[in-house]
Amino acid sequence: MTLTATKMTFEEFLNYDDGTESLYELENGKLIAMPSESEINRRIAMFLVATFLKLGIPSTRLTLKTELAVSGARLSVRVPDLVVLSEELAGVLAGASRSIVLLEMPPPLLVVEVVSPNQEKRDYRYKRSEYAARGILEYWIVDPLQQRVTLLEWVEGLYEEQVYSGDQVVVSPVLAAAALAQQVELTAAVILRGG
């Protein structure tokens, strides 16, 4: 086994400041700069926020780019594109000086990642294991590159996978439970177009 450069600890990560506005993830001790977003990825994330609001999920329970501590082989930090918080978690986070979901906090209800080029392994593999171990009930992988939406539902410790494309209506138990307003039919195509 090769010894790589010193690994960054979780505490070092929390204190890290390189004087720029860059967002970083911490992946098993490695600092990873978040790539800049394409316009389509931004539109998809914003469209989902608008849709979730329409469904009656309060804005206090929706968050973009909130940091999320997860366990890998070490403690890691992810920055999901969109997160739906439980009421309990939103309460815990209220007043926090840094918007980060720590390991000892309750898990988010739903996490959405919009796939960027060259990030496929991260979204489809690493994060799939990390979010399942963190007990996140639903994980959506929205993939404009492959034109499909993968909905992963947490069942007894592991995600069950459902893949949607084209005019297929995405079925989300978490949304159905969290939404106050009437259900809207959300197809894969509409999500992938960003509205």
Partner: protein
């Protein structure tokens, strides 16, 4: 969920003794006794243990195999208060020797073992196929064998970027193990262990 008993921290778990020979896993801070498996369960464990040892000796690898003797601290939920004890574990000899005078548990931030095996029993079925698949993947254990006498199949999880791809073997299909490429074992041979 009802929690009548107080939760144990990982440190409590390391120090825990109830003056019996019962071995426990720690799952989300709760002690889970390791039930004595069926005779079949024990036979499969011993068979694979012998096979792995034989491979290690033949190839003169600096590894060792152990039967339910090593725990591994596992990421799960909010804290690291889970410790699994796989039925068979293959790990570097140096790593095993380093545990000589401390609890035989691979703690977090330590390198993962090379291979682990779980033999499925009715009570552990869900965990073996689901939670442990996630946990062992996150721990970056390169190979995870799930031997299931209940459905007569052997499933190999091959790690790729912290997530296992599964390959199933039944009957006379020869198991293809990247860790032990010279093994010539069929699923039936493993499942028929006596």
């Amino acid at each position: 969920m009802t929690t009548a008993t107080p939760k144990l921290s990982f440190e409590d778990y390391l120090a825990y003794s109830d003056d019996t020979d019962t071995r426990y896993e720690l799952v989300d801070g709760e002690l889970v006794p390791m039930s004595l498996g069926t005779g079949k369960h024990g036979s499969i464990i011993e068979f694979l243990y012998d096979q792995f040892r034989d491979q290690i000796n033949r190839r003169e690898l600096p590894w060792t195999a152990k039967q339910a003797a090593v725990g591994i601290r596992s990421p799960r939920g909010r804290r690291w208060d889970t410790s699994r004890i796989p039925d068979v574990m293959v790990l570097p000899l140096a790593q095993w020797e380093a545990m000589e005078n401390r609890e035989a548990i691979i703690n977090f931030n330590e390198p993962p073992p090379i291979l682990v095996v779980e033999v499925v029993s009715p009570s552990t079925k869900t965990d073996d196929y689901r939670s442990k698949r996630g946990e062992y993947g996150l721990l970056e254990i390169p190979e995870y064998w799930i031997v299931d006498p209940l459905t007569a199949k052997v499933t190999l999880g091959i790690l790729d970027h912290e997530f296992y791809d599964l390959v199933e073997y039944q009957a006379d299909q020869v198991i293809q193990s990247p860790i032990f490429p010279d093994l010539q074992l069929t699923a039936a041979q493993v499942l028929a262990a006596k």
